[in-house]
């Protein structure tokens, strides 16, 4: 069996989940220029909403959808109640980040005090092993990869084929200009935050399914990978997030297979630093966007 090809398979499987999580994060950043540290807590929240449902014998895939929708709604509420208000009050980038950190930490520990720090699991049995050539994946992983692909395709169509998608892209590039073109930027932003919450929910529940065991630190740990993937691809760029997720997934798994497994994450992150030095705006990022001087 070829270990490299096997590792590529695993890389795609984990990359798919990272890409989903990263997409949600990068959409928020792209639209609102907010580095939302609380995103990690939203991931955790989604996983535990899913857990509540699964423990109540709800089908895990339905649980995923419900958890994603609830997270989406909470994400909009969070934007409406806090982020928008802070932006209107002219909060600086720094104080915004700290505010999101505050929300994140409060949310995370509310979750702990409800569910406790125990290791949890949805108790799914993996759905057998699927062999495709040298690639071995669990049935669950295959399902998640398919789901992720479908969602990314859907998002691609949304961004390119619909008025909403075009409005989202326009708002992301230049909010003022978009508004003067008659785009209802506020509504677009709300929808984006909803979408990013939904993506967070799906990614988190999918991660919990594949990982099998998790505790309340799932979100804050996964957030790091999510940010890394977003930055590799070019933060704020949806396609960058997809690509970044795949790259991070592949490098972690391949380095785990061929180099010391203990360095699994280090190699991926080392790549990231190299990337930052060579092309800090990410693969698909806008290289050195100039300041808008005098119109």
């Amino acid at each position: 069996m070829n270990l490299l090809i096997a590792a590529v398979g695993f890389g795609i499987a984990s990359g798919a989940v990272i890409a989903l999580g990263s997409l949600g994060f990068t959409l928020q950043f792209g639209l609102s220029n907010v580095l939302n540290i609380a995103y990690g807590a939203f991931l955790t929240l989604a996983v535990f909403i899913g857990l509540l449902l699964v423990n109540a014998n709800v089908n895990p895939w339905i649980a995923m959808i419900v958890a994603a929708l609830v997270t989406g709604l909470l994400s909009v509420a969070y934007y409406q109640a806090l982020i928008r208000g802070l932006l209107r009050r002219g909060a600086s980038l720094g104080s915004l980040v700290i505010a999101t950190f505050g929300v994140g930490i409060a949310l995370e520990y509310i979750i702990v005090s409800i569910f406790g720090p125990e290791v949890q699991s949805y108790g799914l049995q993996g759905g057998g092993t699927v062999n495709i050539g040298d690639i071995t994946l669990s049935g669950l992983q295959v399902a998640v990869v398919v789901l992720a692909c479908a969602i990314m395709l859907g998002l691609h169509l949304l961004l390119t084929r619909t008025t909403l998608g075009r409005a989202m892209r326009a708002t992301s590039v230049n909010r003022t200009l978009a508004r003067s073109c008659g785009i209802h930027t506020e509504r677009v932003t709300q929808i984006t935050w909803f979408l990013s919450g939904v993506l967070a929910g799906i990614a988190a529940v999918a991660l919990a399914m594949v990982t099998a065991s998790f505790d309340f630190t799932l979100g804050s740990t996964f957030l790091i990978t999510v940010i890394a993937a977003a930055v590799v691809g070019g933060i704020g760029q949806p396609y960058g997030a997809m690509l970044g997720g795949l790259i991070i997934g592949l490098t972690t798994e391949i380095s785990a297979a061929f180099l010391s497994p203990a360095y699994r994450d280090v190699i991926a992150f080392a790549l990231l630093v190299a990337m930052l030095l060579l092309r800090p705006s990410g693969i698909l990022g806008i290289q050195s966007r100039r300041h808008n001087v005098a119109g």
Binding site: A6, T129, T217
Partner: protein, 434 residues
């Protein structure tokens, strides 16, 4: 990693610590100690991770304290004092632990003894508690304490290196030769590696795989894949609960549901782990394929019954499972030993009763063997010398205050009842570690 691990961070833990340092600056003079006439409440401190990713461990470590003080109070208290527990969060991280411990030591009233102190923080925290002249009973496994002397430090469980050897010996006893080693790359878990390798060398067996894995990863697919290529009969696996559960369920998913046997340590022997493995791999797997190696603890003794009663009386969740591990049992014993030493010394002052700890544990002619605090108090009042033999059996402290006892292998039933499967004695261990 992440929010969960910041614990009471430096900045955040900081300034309150300023105030307490003013008190701590006066050193041990503030260490509470009162004459035996006073009925002021005395406190035992539990130093353990209460928050962060290791918080579960802290919950278990605090249980024997609550159980023991319950037993003390039922028996009329220690020298007439009611006893209680104070929890000090070491967060599993030395840099966070220090401010918390210094603060805890100086702000808690009437502290008389300490239990807990996990491997991650022990080397840093033990000297601090030592200079506060508070006797401490620890279940950490650092080899550091095998040759570093702290007068107030006592350890009733053997170190990690012996635990590693015991794991390999147990695999050998089960007749396996294709052995894979998978350890989480932190100090506590990799500390087992030298012992494992030494024991395997002694048996003339080479591991088929020897890997260290990062903790709490979202997937171990590639690592699992390279381990399963070697077709191990058994995996010596030491990691935290979540890492192990994820690793094993990845193994199951990639290997058509077949997962080899696993030998791990009693560190994870908890309902938390049982539930995770049951959910991901099934109760059958847990019952038939997972063994736990840990400090010896005999469940078939009267003192164990008393211990379990005390745990139940303290309303410990899943008491029968939590109680069944050596480290937790040794901490309960440690509480009894500290309290009996106080009674024997007639003082709750650490600097006074510390030297009485060997005097209530050492086997010697004329000493009455006691198994509970109440018995001990009775015999001491009657003017007898005593030897406390607790749930982890008799202890004999060496000059570094380590007691190299027996190891035991445990199994768990599908209904999560733990039982002892066998034991490994000091002679086997020292042969393996030569």
């Amino acid at each position: 990693m992440g929010l969960g691990r910041i614990g009471s961070g430096r900045v955040l833990g900081g300034v309150a610590a300023l105030v307490m340092l003013a008190v701590a600056g006066c050193g041990s003079s503030t260490t509470p100690s009162t004459s035996s006439q006073s009925s002021a409440k005395i406190n035992f401190a539990v130093v353990a991770p209460m928050t962060g990713s290791m918080a579960m461990l802290g919950h278990f470590i605090s249980d024997p304290c609550f159980a023991a003080v319950g037993a003390f109070n039922k028996a009329g208290g220690v020298l007439g004092h009611k006893a209680g527990c104070v929890l000090i969060d070491d967060t599993g991280d030395p840099a966070d632990a220090v401010p918390n411990v210094t603060k805890g030591l100086s702000t808690s009233s009437n502290l008389v003894g300490v239990i807990g102190i996990d491997s991650n923080v022990a080397a840093t925290v033990v000297p601090i508690i030592n200079s506060a002249k508070l006797p401490m009973v620890s279940s950490n496994g650092l080899s550091f304490f095998l040759n570093h002397y702290y007068p107030y430090f006592w350890r009733m469980t053997p170190p990690d290196i012996a635990e590693g050897a015991a794991t390999a010996i147990w695999a050998h006893k089960k007749g396996y030769t294709k052995i894979a080693i998978v350890l989480q790359n932190d100090v506590g878990d990799t500390g087992n590696l030298p012992g494992i390798l030494s024991a395997m060398k002694n048996e003339g067996v080479k591991p088929v795989a020897n890997l260290q894995i990062p903790g709490d990863s979202s997937s171990y697919d590639s690592i699992v894949n390279s381990v399963r290529q070697t077709n191990p009969q058994i995996i010596l696996l030491s990691a935290d609960t979540q890492t192990m559960a994820t690793f094993l369920s990845n193994y199951k998913q990639l290997n058509n549901g077949n997962v080899p046997e696993v030998i791990t340590t009693t560190q994870v022997m908890s309902p938390d782990f049982f539930n995770a493995i049951t959910k991901d791999l099934g109760a059958q797997y847990l019952a038939s394929k997972v063994n736990f190696i840990g400090a010896y603890l005999n469940q078939q003794t009267p003192q164990y019954v008393a211990y379990l009663d005390a745990m139940n009386a303290a309303k410990v969740q899943n008491a029968s499972t939590v109680a069944a591990t050596g480290p937790i049992g040794s901490l309960y014993d440690g509480m009894n030993v500290e309290a009996l030493a106080m009674v024997a010394a007639g003082s709750t002052k650490g600097s006074v009763y510390d030297s009485y700890i060997p005097k209530v544990t050492t086997a010697r002619p004329g000493a009455v063997v006691v198994h509970t605090f109440a018995q001990g108090v009775k015999e001491l009042k009657a003017g007898h010398q005593i030897q406390y033999v607790g749930v982890v059996g008799p202890v004999a402290f060496d000059k570094y205050h380590n007691s190299n006892g027996w190891y035991a292998a445990f199994g768990v039933s599908a209904s999560q009842q733990t039982s002892q499967l066998g034991s490994i004695g000091p002679t086997e261990l020292s042969a393996a570690l030569k």
